[in-house]
């Protein structure tokens, strides 16, 4: 029983991390119908930046976000302007695949292929509730995910930019007619997506060691999450991430790790067969 509770707790916390890492992916798709294969590569680019700032200037990994987040927003806007704009979804897969390889190659050249890690003393302690232990690094990751996703959600729902962005997603021509500068808005949308990668990368640096090719282990899981959640739905992706995190945790403690990894693809397959729009996806036009 303790084991089940422990699995559930760990799954829930890991699900939060997954939600944070997948948020950008659904945003890109929602905003621009871009399948951004390079998102995990940018997560690790951010992790490396965090590593550099941590080892170079002694900054706490979490304190690097005020630097990396604006940087990634700018980078995102630039990327969208220069290469992503005007691509159809199929082309975007190929192009962002190339982008992922470029980032990986760049990281390999600068940081070499050896492993890097950011290890903080607080990251290996845990909060004990009776027999169940909650690791602080996972708790931190979970709360950062909650804060980031709440902020992202508020931005999309409440702000003027959010309304313009949703209008651009739902009907670009109508949006242009009422004066939304759709091109610019789409660029900012991409920037926001990449900014979430900066946050995610910082958290990743805290919980796991990494090397330039680490991103390949994540792309499959994250893609499965956004499809199960409903392509383009930020909220759906977050809920799917929690669901899959919990399922993974429970299968891990009751069966084994091979079956737990398989769960992502089993859910993906079942979703595509029975409910191709995703668990929480409605009509494409209304998602964000």
């Amino acid at each position: 029983m303790t084991l089940l509770l422990q699995g559930l707790a760990l799954g829930l916390l890991t699900g939060g991390l997954y939600a944070l890492l997948a948020a950008g992916l659904s945003l890109y798709f929602g905003v621009m119908r871009v399948v951004m294969v390079a998102h995990p590569a940018f997560l690790f680019l951010a992790a490396y930046l965090t590593y550099s700032l941590h080892t170079g200037f002694g900054l706490d990994p979490l304190a690097t976000m005020p630097i990396t987040v604006p940087l990634f927003f700018g980078l995102g806007v630039l990327l969208q302007r220069v290469i992503i704009r005007g691509l159809d979804p199929m082309m975007s897969v190929l192009l962002t695949f190339g982008l992922a390889l470029t980032v990986e190659g760049l990281l390999g050249t600068i940081y070499t292929g050896s492993y890097k890690s950011v290890s903080m003393d607080y990251a290996t302690r845990s909060l004990s509730l009776g027999e169940v232990h909650l690791p602080y690094d996972k708790i931190i990751a979970f709360w950062i995910a909650v804060i980031t996703l709440t902020a992202l959600f508020a931005l999309l729902v409440k702000s003027r930019f959010g309304r313009a962005l949703r209008a651009t997603v739902q009907h670009p021509e109508a949006a242009r007619l009422v004066g939304v500068r759709t091109e610019r808005v789409a660029g900012y949308g991409f920037g926001v997506g990449l900014a979430t990668a900066a946050v995610g990368g910082t958290v990743l640096a805290l919980v796991t060691p990494f090397f330039p090719a680490s991103h390949w282990a994540w792309i499959g899981k994250l893609m499965a999450i956004i499809v199960v959640g409903g392509l383009g739905s930020v909220l759906g992706a977050a809920l799917a991430a929690i669901l899959l995190g919990v399922v993974e945790g429970l299968v891990l403690v009751t069966v084994d790790a091979t079956w737990a990894t398989l769960m992502f693809y089993a859910f993906l397959l079942v979703t595509l067969l029975l409910r191709p729009q995703g668990l929480f996806g409605g009509r494409l036009a209304h998602r964000f």
Partner: protein
């Protein structure tokens, strides 16, 4: 008349030249001894690939200073196979037929060793390799392949198994948990220990296998925590060894002994887990501190030539050189002919060779018959604790809490 003679001679020479091209075994018997190697100098295995290359270069330098092989200078010819199994085949093909090398040395990792050894075997070339420990390597029917390292995966923990099973009754651990990456090499190391301990009556309470892209080790550690084992063994590479140690710490699992393959032997390990590295055990094929023949010299030369500290990959490359060098000096030939290469292979199969990783001998399939040393972090430093002949410090058991 002179012209006719000239034409005849030219034709004869041309014919001889043409006849030569596809035939290995016609390299000149004077001049340098050319050794062909294809290595993954780019791609997935570029880091270890470059490490092996450094070992080969250091060996060649050492030999040449002593006057070369059978009085002939050693010249290494390197190709980069980009970690690609197809490219490695064509590299060895052309090294043997075009460059007409006298000898070939192996590449890095089982994935490249198998296709490379197939080519070498088809030209009857001796194939001593530095890094192909998976059991599949020895099941291909190769007759001239030898793995120049102390042990295949299953024997890595032999000294530790012996130590644990010989502990007095009261101290001897009773239960053990195993977690291993789904990879023939990593699994082989953990299972080698598991089988020996199980045979000695130590109960296996957890036996987990996880796929290579596992990123979350919390739930695996939770299972181990629930079983409260006396010892924890990881059949690991790097990321997972760190992931497991961190997760075990977080879930407050405090075994009396913790052993992980590969990860703890890398300098990145203590940086990643900090104080938790203390008293962690790991099998290691080579150590800078041992006084095996040529080892001190290797460490010194490495520092002088490449800067930084010598490492296991370089030592493995160096070992290949030492084994082949001993064989060449013993049978007194270094030609790429079937006759000579067979003599070399036969010699290696029956002999024992002094190398920087210790004395090596091989079985019929080319498997080495020794075991890895066991290292432990003691006072933040890597010390060799087993076997007794090579130890630099006493083994600490039980370990401190992490």
């Amino acid at each position: 008349m002179a012209r006719i003679l000239a034409i005849t001679v030219t034709c004869a020479l041309l014919a001889a030249a043409c006849a030569k091209t596809d035939e290995p075994g016609t390299a000149p018997r004077t001049g340098p001894v050319r050794i062909g190697v294809s290595l993954p100098l780019s791609g997935d295995f570029s880091e270890p690939g470059k490490g092996i290359q450094e070992g080969y270069q250091l060996w060649a330098e050492t030999v040449n200073e002593k006057g070369g092989l059978l009085g002939r200078k050693v010249e290494l010819i390197f190709r980069d196979d980009a970690s690609d199994p197809n490219r490695v085949s064509s590299d060895y093909e052309s090294l043997i037929t075009q460059d007409k090398v006298n000898l070939v040395f192996g590449p890095f990792s089982s994935r490249l060793v198998i296709p490379a050894a197939k080519v070498a075997e088809s030209y009857n070339m001796l194939f001593v390799e530095p890094a192909g420990a998976a059991k599949e390597v020895f099941e291909q029917g190769f007759k001239r392949l030898f793995y120049a390292a102390p042990a295949i995966a299953g024997d890595h923990y032999n000294y530790l198994a012996e130590y644990i099973t010989k502990l007095p009754e009261g101290q001897r651990p009773k239960t053990a948990a195993y977690a291993s990456l789904d990879d023939p090499f990593a699994q082989g190391t953990a299972y080698g220990l598991r089988d020996k301990l199980a045979a000695a009556g130590i109960t296996t309470v957890v036996d987990e296998i996880y796929p290579p892209d596992t990123t979350d080790f919390g739930p695996i550690a939770a299972k181990i925590a629930a079983a409260e084992p006396d010892i924890v063994v990881g059949g690991t590479q790097f990321e997972d060894s760190v992931g497991l140690v961190r997760a075990l710490q977080e879930l407050k699992v405090q075994p009396k002994l913790a052993a992980f393959s590969t990860g703890p032997t890398l300098p990145e390990f203590p940086a990643a887990v900090k104080n938790a590295a203390e008293h962690v055990l790991s099998p290691v094929g080579w150590a800078p501190t041992t006084d095996f023949p040529g080892n001190a010299d290797l460490v010194k030369r490495y520092k002088a030539k490449f800067g930084g500290d010598a490492h296991e990959d370089a030592a493995n490359g160096f070992t290949v050189g030492q084994v082949v060098e001993a064989a060449v000096n013993a049978v007194k030939c270094v030609e790429p002919t079937r006759e000579c290469q067979d003599k070399l292979a036969d010699h290696i199969r029956q002999g024992t060779f002094d190398t920087v990783v210790g004395p090596l001998s091989f079985d019929e399939q080319g498997r080495p018959e020794q075991a890895h040393m066991i290292q432990q972090y003691v006072g933040g430093k890597v010390e060799i604790v087993l076997p007794a002949e090579a130890k630099t410090a006493d083994i600490v058991f039980p370990k401190q809490a992490w």
